[in-house]
Amino acid sequence: MTTLWTTPREWLTKDAITKERLNAISDNLTYLHTPSSSIKTVRGTGADAPITSLTPIQIDDALFTASLETTGRVLNVNFLMTMANATAGAYTHIDVLMDGVTYLSSLTGTQLTYGLLRDRQSGAAYVHALSFDIKIPAGTITAGAHVFVPRVWVSGSTSTFYLSAGYFAQFGVRE
């Protein structure tokens, strides 16, 4: 298990230098070197996910649920998947839902109209990659255990996210 961060001690004159206090410094250094993260990667072993929902819905929560203990640092969220919509001109939107209640686009319970990413299909069924890498500023997310899942919706037709043989997909959250 990852060593968690604790608020550094404010040292006072004549404080005893105990092994516990020195180890607390060591533990924090360890945390900074290897902070909390949850990276979900699928290397061609999933099932393609057809999305027709006009409101936010999972791609595959069994594969892309990122759970981690945060400590109030900057949070990095990355997403990379290959997809295509069957109809030229259709839009696909992606957002990230935290703890089932907060969308990272708006930091509220309602996603921004166009989410974190809006993509318009240039040609019917043209396969292309969608990716983003965003940071949530330090102090925005309360320290503690959190669960993150990608959410997608379309303007119409079907957007297929390719997770089967030959496709790489990744969703990750890290401090």
Partner: protein, 187 residues
């Protein structure tokens, strides 16, 4: 002494040196706090509240996309590497979108050059007329490229003909910011 997230180069301890509380706070606690709170984000994060941008351009050359909404200043520290990150939904009526950043009105982000036009664009994209796409890319700003102190960053796009571009902020997430690479993998 109250703690603060302030970096001080770690002490080189000498034999017999007193371990004063102020040194532990400065070299351990404050430095740990600084690293934990890094990278500080300097710049713009738009959560749907900005105004959409339309740029109808008749002039060939690099021009600001929006000198108010997509420009910011940041304080540069000596000896520190930075990443400049852009995430913006765009569209154009023709041709290719080419984006880069102009720093202080004089320095191009891609290579630190100071010419009237950039040599390199960090982002290029061509698609069908009016089709929205995400411009998402990160540019390294290595230490030494900019002098320590405050600098202004402005997102620029290049027009090769009389075209129109759109950048979407209303109802869209977008960001344009600078972060230290401390604690992160350098590009």
């Amino acid at each position: 002494m109250a703690l603060s997230a302030l970096w001080t180069p770690p002490n080189r301890w000498e034999t017999g040196e007193p371990m004063a509380a102020v040194k532990f706070n400065t070299f351990f606690s404050n430095n740990l706090l600084f690293l934990h709170q890094s990278p500080v984000i300097q710049g713009v994060i738009n959560r749907g509240t900005g105004t959409d941008i339309t740029v109808g351009v008749l002039t060939v050359g690099a021009q600001p996309l929006d000198s108010q909404q997509l420009s910011f200043y940041a304080d540069i520290e000596e000896g520190v590497d930075y990443n400049l990150s852009t995430h913006l939904t765009m569209a154009s009526n023709s041709s290719m979108t080419q984006l880069t950043t102009l720093i202080d009105g004089t320095t191009w982000s891609a290579d630190g050059s100071n010419g009237a036009q950039p040599n390199i664009y960090e982002y290029k994209y061509r698609t069908s007329v009016g089709y929205q796409y995400l411009a998402s890319f990160t540019t390294p700003i290595p230490s030494g490229m900019l002098s320590p102190g405050r600098h202004t960053f402005t997102l620029m796009h290049y027009n090769n003909a009389a075209n129109t571009w759109w950048a979407y902020l209303s109802g869209h997430y977008a960001h344009y910011y600078l972060t230290r690479t401390s604690g992160l993998t350098k590009l």
